[in-house]
């Protein structure tokens, strides 16, 4: 084991189940407290990274939508950020931003930029030309057309991008402890050989991903009621 992982002895050897490295509900019940803080760190990391990532990439997409020449450079830069392995990103950032929440957030943000940027842009591009023409012909300004027609119609794609980004970020945030930002990953790697531990921390991460996914899906249904209104006529 790498010394970096700072193995902590969390098993109490007198318990037979624990000694056999089984799946131990009693142990989990007794030790659940350990997971609460890391869980909320994990939520915070994910939500903050998603929020910042969305703000940046949504803005970039709106700008590039009108100034098409920006699409390629933005795609390339965010593409490079997307391909840098997150662990590498953490280590690259350590000398600059130091250990902690900031470093982890930067790495996570840079990872979601491409996903959200591309989905927003695709959503806007997929708005049918005749709808834009009708809107302009009725006297909507470019800005009104964007906010009243194009963005609402792009919402299904935008939300789909957010869902992918959210589940990906939850997964990547399990590595955030490399940057010293805590999270469920810290618990997993605290004793990666102990089944009960790994299962609890892992299941929490999966539940978080599923919950975020479900929340975004609910939000999407709430803001796109028209997508379910198909030919009742």
């Amino acid at each position: 084991m790498s010394p970096l992982l700072a193995q902590v002895e969390i098993r109490e050897r007198d318990d037979t189940c624990v000694a056999d490295n089984g799946f131990c509900p009693d142990w989990i019940a007794d030790n659940f407290d350990r997971y609460v803080d890391p869980f909320f760190q994990h939520v915070l990391l994910t939500v903050v990274a998603m929020g910042i990532g969305f703000a940046i990439s949504f803005t970039l997409a709106l700008v590039a939508y009108r100034r098409r020449w920006l699409i390629n450079p933005v795609t390339q830069v965010t593409g490079v950020l997307y391909t840098i392995p997150s662990i590498a990103a953490f280590f690259l950032l350590l000398p600059i931003t130091g250990r902690g929440f900031l470093t982890a957030t930067i790495a996570l943000v840079s990872y979601v930029l491409l996903i959200i940027f591309r989905n927003v842009l695709t959503g806007l591009d997929n708005v049918p030309a005749d709808i834009k023409d009708a809107g302009r012909g009725m006297g909507l300004t470019d800005r009104q057309l964007l906010w009243r027609v194009e963005v609402p119609l792009a919402l299904p794609e935008i939300m789909a991008g957010l869902r992918i980004a959210a589940t990906t970020t939850v997964g990547l945030a399990t590595l955030a402890f490399f940057a010293g930002a805590g999270g469920l990953g810290e618990q997993i790697f605290a004793d990666i050989t102990f089944k009960s531990n790994v299962v609890v921390a892992g299941v929490l991460a999966v539940l978080l991903a599923a919950a975020l996914d479900g929340l975004i899906l609910l939000a999407q249904r709430a803001v796109t009621p028209w997508t379910r209104a198909v030919s009742a006529a």
Partner: protein
């Protein structure tokens, strides 16, 4: 229709009823193209008339229309709306005063019918109640049930309903000018015919100035008070009311474009009630024969027409029916074809030809005979002065 009455009384109408539209030597050349898309186009559409721009594809008709609301910039020349150049206006503001309906309709799929129609009223800052009242009024105007359709999304409507909502949306702020680009182009023939008639009926009430683009000469003849035929390069080949266009095509291009059957097309512009019918010698069973013979004396047809108590045609009588004192029910032939007074002459002619008849009784909407139409009358109608032939909404 009370809905249209209220359109003028309670209907919030900040704009004038109809505008005069003038094209003044309008030219459009797209960058990088040598040939202009529209060249030296000049014509005037009087307020309240439908002007149809028609021509083969690539003739610049849509370009010409889209320059009116500045969706396309004018390269040279000018377009005046009630004497004022559209180039002086800010495009978005100008467009809000001009109704806009396109073939693909372009309803906003994420907005309900009501919100779609309310688009321009909201841009103009109308209050909620006024918008609500206007939406219901417009839906009734285009023959849709407000309660049923208001809260629907476009995906929940049929093609014809969507088209109606598109027209209602274009009419939302009672604009003095409407631009319609093949508005019924994507509709099946039966529904298209219905929508055309509905629009003409509507136009008879609202009397907007309309620029209507189509590639279909039959639609142009039916819808237009005036038709501008364009040829490739956006050159005006002829600008005239439909009847004049059909009777006196200005050049071989127009003659060719309106088709070899232009005489028949002219018959489609007039209805049975527009021509002077022959008097029908109507007789009933039991009537004195002397009276019946007297009626026959003034009539252009050789046989008396037997009708029932309601005046509905039963058939042409034979000589034997008039042999006694009183008229008897001795028919020589059935009354076919029975022609409707609201039929267009072309359809009436077709009916006569298919029954191999020289003439047929004409009935009103109650089915009672009002006269007789003959091939002779039809051939006379072909020589009618174009000035006397109604067009557009008046022909309906």
């Amino acid at each position: 229709m009370n809905s249209s009455d209220s359109a003028h009384t309670t209907g919030p109408s900040p704009l004038s009823d109809a505008a005069t539209l003038e094209f003044r030597s309008v030219m459009k050349r797209y960058p990088g193209q040598r040939e202009p898309a529209v060249e030296n186009l000049s014509f005037t559409v009087p307020a309240g008339e439908i002007c149809v721009l028609v021509g083969p594809s690539g003739c610049g008709k849509t370009t010409a229309m889209r320059m009116v609301n500045r969706m396309i910039d004018i390269t040279e020349g000018d377009i005046l709306l009630d004497g004022r150049s559209v180039k002086e206006r800010r495009p978005a503001e100008l467009r809000r005063e001009i109704g806009y309906a396109i073939q693909q309709i372009g309803l906003f799929p994420h907005l309900t019918v009501s919100d779609n129609i309310a688009t321009v009223p909201r841009l103009l800052g109308w209050d909620r109640q006024r918008i609500r009242a206007r939406v219901d009024e417009l839906l009734e105007l285009v023959s849709l049930d407000p309660h049923e359709t208001r809260e629907r999304y476009p995906a929940q409507l049929s093609g014809g309903q969507r088209q109606r909502v598109g027209v209602a949306r274009a009419l939302a702020v009672d604009p003095p000018l409407m631009l319609m680009d093949e508005p019924f182009g994507a509709i099946d023939p039966i529904n298209r015919e219905r929508l055309q008639n509905e629009f003409l009926r509507l136009q008879r009430e609202i009397r907007k100035t309309v620029v209507f683009v189509t590639h279909d000469i039959d639609e142009a003849i039916k819808m237009g008070d005036r038709i501008a035929i364009l040829r490739k390069g956006g050159k005006l080949a002829q600008y005239a009311p439909p009847a004049e266009l059909l009777m006196y095509p200005a050049n071989p291009f127009v003659e060719d474009f309106v088709g070899a059957d232009r005489a028949l097309k002219r018959l489609a512009l007039q209805r049975v009630r527009d021509v002077d019918l022959w008097k029908a010698p109507l007789v009933r069973v039991g009537e004195p024969v002397a009276e019946a013979r007297a009626k026959l004396g003034d009539a252009e047809v050789p046989y008396p027409l037997l009708v029932d108590d309601q005046g509905k045609p039963l058939g042409w009588l034979s000589e034997r029916a008039l042999a006694g004192e009183r008229v008897e029910a001795e028919l020589r032939s059935n009354p076919k074809p029975v022609l409707d007074i609201d039929d267009v002459l072309r359809d009436a002619l077709a009916d006569l030809l298919s029954e191999e008849a020289q003439y047929g009784p004409v009935v009103d909407h109650r089915g009672a005979v009002t006269g007789v139409l003959s091939i002779e009358i039809l051939s006379h109608a072909l020589r009618t002065d174009p000035e006397e032939v109604p067009s557009g909404a008046d022909a309906l």
